[in-house]
Amino acid sequence: MTFTVPRHDEFRFPGWGLLKGLWVTGKHFVRSYFLRNRRIPGKELFPGGRYGLFIVQYPEEQAPIPDRYRGLPILLYDDATRAELCTACMSCARACPVGIIHIEQGTDAEGKKIPYAASFTIEYDVCLNCGLCMDACAFGSIVLDHNLKTARTRREDFRMTKEKLLRPISYYEKIAPSLWAEMREEALKRLAGTINRRPPDVGRVPRKVAEG
């Protein structure tokens, strides 16, 4: 059985196809001096097709990162109260397929458990960026960062303690507004409950860390 592939052009003379090829590449050559990542509506060859230089000069420029980009996990705290959203419920530690999240729940003087993480460590070098911790978290505390520069020079630097993981909510709202809008209401409601169950000034980010 044979299939005929329609070429949508007529044969004119020997070498016609070669000249057509030169015409196409010539157009690209000339366009590359005038256009850059240009979308021309109605003239796309394929969805998202662009005209002109198809480049982003990375260290100087950067393409926008989509909201759902899965970077490395970070912890959030509230800007106004500096209260950490995490309650040390261990959901993320259980959900983590490689078991790199280590949480120690805080206790008061009598040994009674308080809903905050006394220590929270993530081993960044083993992280798969799978985002299961984020899905498991009911408090909207652990989310995925959009940082692309994750290289470190020493292995110890990949052991991220709580102080290094904490970011304000405003930061996350800036990098992933649509995701934060989805979980905002639930997270803030639960945060209010969490703060009530904690002694004052426990589970808060020190003012120094929060401000700089």
Partner: protein, 370 residues
């Protein structure tokens, strides 16, 4: 050459004997001829990479410039469009390990890359770059060019055989067959401008195209000269293993062909040989068909005429080189059988008929019109 000797004699004649001055003149010219192609090669690699990149909607190398000399170290200025990239490449090539296969013929393996660039350098000696700017004006210039540049075929075989590698040998055999086949139509189309000019000297051929303000080029001798130009360029593409005929570097079949077992600077030398051959093909096409250094303005006396002649020569040559880049960014390569078919069944008959008709026309013109 004579001008240079006279100039040196007037400067140093009081201190040095005549034969030293002649030697000195030759040393200067030879040094220029050895240095010029090296810089040309660097410029051409840069041009090729930038050109191909533009065709593929990219920028190409644009980082390596004079960064360290920039006092503000902003990296944005002084990059010179990446013009210093070839120097970085060269340094990298020098620092690479030089690998010789265990079972290789060591002597030939070492000789081949050197021999690969020698013919190209030799051809530079007879190329007229401008009015009076030719190292030696041989009266059998074209014969010399064709003879010397065919050495490259032998070098390929030496490189492929001495590597003791099946890909190298296959690549070399294939390329040798291709180059021997395309030599025939190439030379047959070279003879057409020789017939028009009535001389084998490259300088005489250029001078023959000097009428009409330096625009009576052989390519305008329609249809014979035009056809000869097209066939020459096609055959020359195959001769330098350029894109539609670049079966040597058909990676999917024979890895890198005859350069498979070469690394570091030896590889770079082969690379250089190929680039210089590409330039020479463009330069020869310019000289034979596009008027060489002839063009409007060359008729002026004094320095302006010389400047214009050099300008026209390099403008035409690099325009043709741009065509090579364009082709390289566009066309796919042929199959081996298609390649041979095209050479022997299409190009050779066309060039033969073209040569016959050209001869007839030249005789008729000589006998009846002049």
């Amino acid at each position: 050459m004579e001008l240079l000797i006279q100039g040196l004699e007037s400067l140093l004649g009081a201190f040095l004997p005549y034969w030293v001055i002649v030697l000195l003149a030759f040393a200067i010219v030879i040094t220029l001829i050895l240095f010029f192609p090296t810089f040309l090669f660097m410029l051409m690699t840069w041009l090729l990479r930038r050109g191909i990149a533009r065709i593929a909607d990219r920028i190409g190398p644009n980082r390596v410039g004079l960064g360290p000399f920039n006092r503000e170290r902003t990296r944005q200025r002084w990059t010179l469009w990446g013009l210093m990239q070839p120097i970085a490449d060269g340094i990298k090539m020098f620092t690479k390990e030089d690998i010789v296969p265990e079972k290789a013929d060591r002597l030939l393996h070492r000789i081949a890359p050197i021999a690969a660039i020698v013919p190209s350098f030799l051809v530079f000696a007879v190329i007229p770059f401008g009015k009076g700017l030719v190292a030696t004006d041989l009266n059998v210039g074209i014969l010399y060019v064709v003879a010397v540049s065919s050495i490259f075929t032998l070098v390929l075989l030496v490189a492929g055989w001495s590597s003791n590698n099946k890909y190298s040998l296959l690549g070399a055999m294939r390329t040798a067959a291709q180059m021997v086949s395309y030599e025939v139509p190439m030379v047959l189309s070279l003879v057409v401008p020789v017939l028009f000019a009535g001389s084998l000297s490259l300088n005489r051929i250029v001078e023959n195209q000097g009428a009409w303000l330096g625009l009576r080029w052989h390519i305008f001798y329609f249809p014979l000269g035009t056809l000869a130009f097209i066939t020459y360029f096609t055959a020359a593409l195959a001769e330098i293993n350029h894109t539609p005929f670049d079966l040597v570097e058909a990676d999917s079949e024979i890895v890198a062909g005859y350069v498979t077992e070469y690394s570091g600077m030896k590889f770079a030398l082969f690379f250089m040989g190929e680039f210089l051959n590409a330039f020479l093909v463009c330069a020869l096409a310019t000289i034979l068909f596009l008027g060489g250094w002839q063009g409007p303005g060359v008729q002026l006396g004094g320095a302006w005429g010389y400047l214009f002649s050099v300008f026209w020569f390099f403008l035409k040559t690099f325009a043709l080189y741009f065509l090579l880049i364009w082709i390289r960014g566009t066309w796919p390569r042929l199959r081996v059988d298609q390649l041979m078919h095209f050479a022997w069944k299409r190009l050779v008959p066309v060039t033969l008929v073209n040569l016959l008709l050209s001869g007839l026309v030249v005789i008729v013109v000589r006998l009846f019109l002049s």
